[in-house]
Each structure stands twice: as C-alpha cells, then as structure tokens.
Symmetry: C2
Subunit: 101 residues, 2 copies
C-alpha cells in the first residue's frame, strides 16, 4: 500500500472512531440523566478505573501496536470529555428545571 492508501484507510477508521465516540458520549449523557433522576453520585471513580482496566486488557489481548499505557492515556481523555459533556448537560438541565431532555 502507498502512503495515500494508508491515509485513506486512516480517514475511514476516523469516520468510525468519531461515530463510536459520539455513540459512547450519548450513553454517558443518558447515564448522567439516570443518576440525577435517582440521586446517585455523578462521579464514580471505581467505574472509571474499570473502564481503563478494560481498555488495557483489550489492547493487551490484541497485542497492540498500542501499548497499555498509550491506551490508558487515550481512555483517560475519552472519559474526561464524557465527564465534561455530562457536566454541561447537567448545568443545562438545572438551568431549565430538568425539563429539556
């Protein structure tokens, strides 16, 4: 394959990554909504640690080339963005009396 072929493959992978990241974010927002409804704590460090452990185990099973540390760094960022999005939705829900979604 040429560099151009490989870049086209990366672009196609990126389409799927963006789609999956959005599907994941939608799940995280819905979890946030259920937690507020049921007055559960929004931040759950044990769940975040489980997500990181899971991602490490998957990359180890696949044999990389991304190592466990690299995947852990990526998932820390993914979790961070999910948390940020949940917080934004929470603020918006509070402002609008929870009626908007």
């Amino acid at each position: 394959m040429t560099i151009e072929d490989l870049r086209a493959r990366i672009d196609a992978i990126d389409d799927q990554l963006v789609s999956l990241l959005n599907a994941r974010a939608a799940c995280a927002i819905e979890i946030g909504r259920l937690k507020r409804r049921d007055a559960l704590p929004i931040f759950q460090g044990d769940r975040e640690q489980a997500v990181i452990r899971h991602s490490r185990a998957v990359t180890a099973r696949l044999g990389g080339p991304l190592g466990e540390e690299a995947i852990a760094r990526l998932f820390e960022r993914i979790i961070d963005e999910a948390r940020r999005l949940e917080a934004a939705f929470e603020e918006s829900a509070e402002r609008e009396g929870g009626a908007s979604w």
Copy 2:
C-alpha cells in the same frame, strides 16, 4: 435502559474503539516506515491539520453530542500517541539497522 445496560453498551463500544485505534496505529507505523524508506519528512503538520479538520467535519455532520472542540482535543491525543509510537519504532529501526520490521 438501565445504567448497567448502558455501561455494557459502553464496554462493547470500547472494545471496538481499542481495535480501531490499534488498526489506525498500525497504519501510522507503516506510513512512518514508507517515509523513512523514501527519505520523506516524518512530521507533516498539514496532514495532522487535515486529520483534525476531517474529525471536526464528521462530528458536525453527525450532530454530536460531542462538539467539534471535544473531537479536536481527542484527535490531538490520538495523533500524539501515533507520533510517539512512530518515534519508538524509528528508534528501534535505527538501533537495529532497519532490519527488524
């Protein structure tokens, strides 16, 4: 769906994310190999900017919930890990006279 259902869905998404991130990293490593073979510059800022623009356009087309800024931050990290991995492979190739992979 319950919180547990949503978490199971996130875990399944994460399996796919880890798999795609590794497929992407393998492409990036192969691009690095071709660049070295053809004595092309390893760092190409215009390509990195194109990747970010592409990811922003895809999330805008999907309508989120991840905004363009959030996706750009995630892809900056993904590119950063790819660059780190390419550098590690390059060092290893130099050390072993380029014969190891």
